[in-house]
Subunit: 349 residues, 4 copies
């Protein structure tokens, strides 16, 4: 079978490494170039010895021009604000682009100064960028040249709430998302707050009070679901584990409901979607069961005393929350089997 | 200085061991008896080698009668529903009792069948039992014979919200408490869900949807604070760490407020309380800073976009959430310095 | 392609679950029966929710007779001393058997009373049982009906030292193996010593001083390598992690050597073996790089000051140390591609 | 009681923070100055929020001259090779100095180029520096002006082996020390290898093969014990925990011995030493029981089959392995109670 030629820019970070884990076993993928400014000349296994033994290019400088005619698809795993500098020329050169940063996720360019502290440098491309929530925008992704791959918190939150808001089960003004993430969500960059000694045996909040940059993504999609402006309170926490996001979302019931109504709503919406697991009544997701995979799991409880739904959802922040979904989007864009390269079994223990 | 004679029933559990850690360095405490049905004849160090080298009684059978004239105070660290069988005879015999179980925490005996699945066997004692939230019921505790030491989730939640509800800052119908606990909160009993292999690298919810037995305690106290019935949505989570509870509480603002208003409310209420730390604006608590101590820390953020307060609070579930607060209550009951035996410094790292 | 029909007895333990993880993706494997005395009637996903969504039999009682004509291969993941009761009838009925317990690993029946505290009940089968160290006894395994799958410590230790002793690089009387294992090595059985609260943040030895039951296995194989009786000092430790064994082995050099000599010895011996990685000079294995896989990694240093070789080796105790190697042995026994079902990529982070 | 005035140079590192934890509760200690080049102007609680609420100086630049007449004792918690630049002037000015670096530990200046890659800048002071192993050089420490506080691996190793080698129980050429350390042993400096994501769930060796800089310290002291040159094979490992060193040491028996002989040797040698615990026969130390304290625990097994002793010892690398022993040495130097400030109880769980 013919393979597509793939470049990864910013391949030395955790999302880049996870892309490699999935792509090296993908029957239709051929890695032709890897860039990483800080590791030019090094091999992948120098940074990630677990990936030793694989036949991979060495890291080179990020150079969009060099890819013309040599690649079909570029994954951008660059820091925020870097992708917007480079994506336009890649798209213009006829390459397909999947950007894992936040640079093309917000349709409204006016939100970038507030949430990312920058003016958007390629606002003209926001219109053609497709928000890459694979199960929500499937058809648009299939035809897209530029996919804005969603954030990890975002995916975990939106997939849980989108069907319920669309169907009118929850009051739009009542949504609170209390999310907890493993450490890899913060990336590979060295900071004191990500040292083992700071994190181990500890637990903390960060960016509390409506200031996390994933908030507008969540609101953009949930507003589309609800057909009206939805604003959420979103609180991220740092778990002393490597991988996984578990989001506990709260919403006041907009009409009388039992758990099975909400589960049916979710199950119907995600009918036939191979990476979505709506858990049976009485069961809620835990991180172990999704880590290492592209799975999204969701379960529901209702607190009848206070008339609230509690929706618990889980993903691997590097899987469905980043690299896994990026590969899923690649599969959609190139007409491959949606599960190609992504059919891994999680560790049972 | 004269010492009081102390017995601990159910001393082999984690709360019992933590009581010992605090009491062996307490200048006014003398341990005269330890009971543990499952460990009769064993030494404390057989179960907790970290406590080797201390001069402590061996575990014997739980025998209330044997303590008459030989002890001044009994800590009951027994399983729920066991304390109610034994506390009355101890109180009747003139001993002071601090019960760490839930058996005397709810003033309304009618709540026990719903939340603890039992009829209360000593309902007549609920009236004289004082709810042992040291900073809230200080004067009652000083005069009490029977103190119902609060639960770990409870302490962490109530101390954060009580002053704010009392002062009318939060809408009483809007309270959501998303709490995360270390594993010792579940006690020493063997269960598959508490094995290292299940917990490590994992994160999960449990008892979701208004069913955790600490809920009515929280509501009892917050209702007293608000002067009206308060019902809360309370969601517990299990962290892959040994100690500590961090609660992220949400409440809609009942009137316009800035963070400093809420912090001032908390600071004023807890003025002069040695174990309460209201953190400065911009700072939220983390578990490391309270673990191993009797401290309670709290910080506040406001999400101005959604008009909600986010109150983050933290304790050591075995400290202020159990044994630490029990010793603090002992200090109040016997007129000792409130900090006696409890002046430990947390590990900086 | 035709599939072989497989039963797993004792399938509810960690090795059983890991067998399932590998076998459900194996192109030639069909699971026809699972037994687990303690979980009869339950589904695999009841115990291991991470394995939900797979089409697997429910657990039934262990019944050797029921398999006649219905299975081609039985994996025995039973507790020690149970396999010896059941394996003979399975072999007699013409099934192939891979036993993951210690029951058929020692060729000398006389060692069982000392190391396993039992008389062997099927000593007559020890002669035909092949010790399933895939890279060492490859040809015998190919023809075997009964394979005694090696222990986790054993595999990690023997593969590191066998070629070096065979080639005479190390003094046979000087071998010390200091091994560290993750918690899953002790299995799924509930014990106080395997609770999260005991293990987390802790590190300990166990069975120190020549008493661990894997010792005679190690000596049996290393003696065969050296052509003379080898006795080792073997010290196991418990790491606060779920998976992985790292063994640091020491041996006095029997003749002048440099690191490259020992590495060449290892590389030559394991030439063409797909799961063995002899690391380049200067690099030593770490657990992350083998966990979740069937890989064995080894590296060597020499302490020239004391004339000792330090050989560091690593496996996943549930992978190459148990279920992975069992599947590898199945592949050998049935003439499948040696890597079938085992070609997983470890998590890079 | 009069207090001594104490300065800590390099106080922002983990050893510095741990010194503060012990000293703030020390009845005879007054902290008058803290230096930290990278944190000038910051408060201790900015780096270690767990230490908030304490009345401590802010960090200033390291300035030896400023201390004249204002301090009685300086702890140097500076990086290796920094102490040798500053200690001489402090000693010359009449201050007592406890140096936690390696700069004054080796009596032979000629060893510094080999092990620390520097020429010693103050070799003339090596003669008066006392090696601060509190239980071994007690009397010299009492009279010292300059104490070279031992390393963490060193303390854990030497205290275990010194008495046994002195009494001739072990062959001096056979000593192997396989040591495992928590992450704080590497200090607070940011490195990729100390990030949570690299360390968690992982286990690794480092500086294997006779190259770790603690090796000559160990050999210096063990040689003194044995009365002849002792060379050891020392292998450090990195545990996925914050604190604690456990060393598993191996030595061939030089004469027939039972466990009780070796335990008696240790117990006799350490008679009356408050921080040393020689564990009873059958018991070996674990990290939990020493972490957070200045304790050293040791236990012994003999492998009669191979005629080797296995000596297992444990300390908190920041306690007896660094700051705890430094405070103990301070107590000796100033004639305080040896346990002053150090009488903490470890967490039982």
């Amino acid at each position: 079978m013919q393979k597509i030629r793939i470049a990864i820019f910013g391949a030395s970070g955790y999302s880049g490494a996870e892309l490699l884990r999935y792509l090296v076993r993908h029957p239709r993928a051929q890695i032709v170039a890897l860039s990483a400014e800080s590791s030019v000349g090094k091999a992948v296994a120098d940074l990630y010895p677990a990936l030793r033994g694989l036949d991979l290019p060495i890291f080179e400088k990020t150079d969009a021009d060099s890819l013309k005619g040599k690649a079909d698809l570029v994954f951008l795993a660059l820091p925020h604000t870097e992708s917007m500098k480079i994506a336009p020329s890649l798209v213009a050169a006829g390459l397909k682009v999947i950007d894992l940063s936040g640079d093309f996720r917000l349709a409204d360019a006016g939100l970038y100064p507030e949430w990312y502290k920058v003016e958007h440098l390629a606002a003209g491309y926001l219109g053609q960028a497709v928000y890459g929530l694979s199960e929500i925008h499937t058809d648009l992704i299939r035809k897209a040249s530029l996919v804005a791959n969603p954030g990890c918190y975002t995916t975990t939150s939106i997939l849980a709430l989108y069907p319920l808001l669309k169907a009118g089960w929850l009051k739009t003004s009542s949504i609170i998302i209390d999310a907890k993430s493993g450490v890899t969500g913060a990336g590979r960059k060295l900071t004191q707050s990500n040292t083992f000694s700071e994190v181990d045996g500890n637990f903390s909040t960060y960016k509390v009070g409506g200031v996390h940059q994933h908030t507008p993504e969540i609101e953009q999609e949930l507003s589309a679901a609800a057909g009206k402006k939805v604003m959420v309170t979103f609180t991220p926490h740092l778990l002393p584990i490597n991988r996984g996001i578990l989001a506990t979302s709260y919403g006041d019931l907009a009409k009388p409901a039992e758990v099975k109504d909400l589960l049916k709503c979710l199950a119907d919406f995600y009918q036939g979607k191979p990476f979505i697991r709506v858990l049976p009544e009485g069961v809620l997701p835990v991180l172990r069961d999704v880590n290492g995979t592209n799975l999204f799991e969701v379960g529901v409880k209702i607190d009848a005393r206070t008339n609230r739904a509690i929706v618990v959802s889980a993903t691997d922040n590097l899987g469905k929350g980043a690299a896994g979904q990026a590969v899923q989007n690649m599969n959609l864009m190139f007409g491959f089997d949606e599960m190609a390269g992504l059919d891994v079994i999680p560790l049972p223990i």
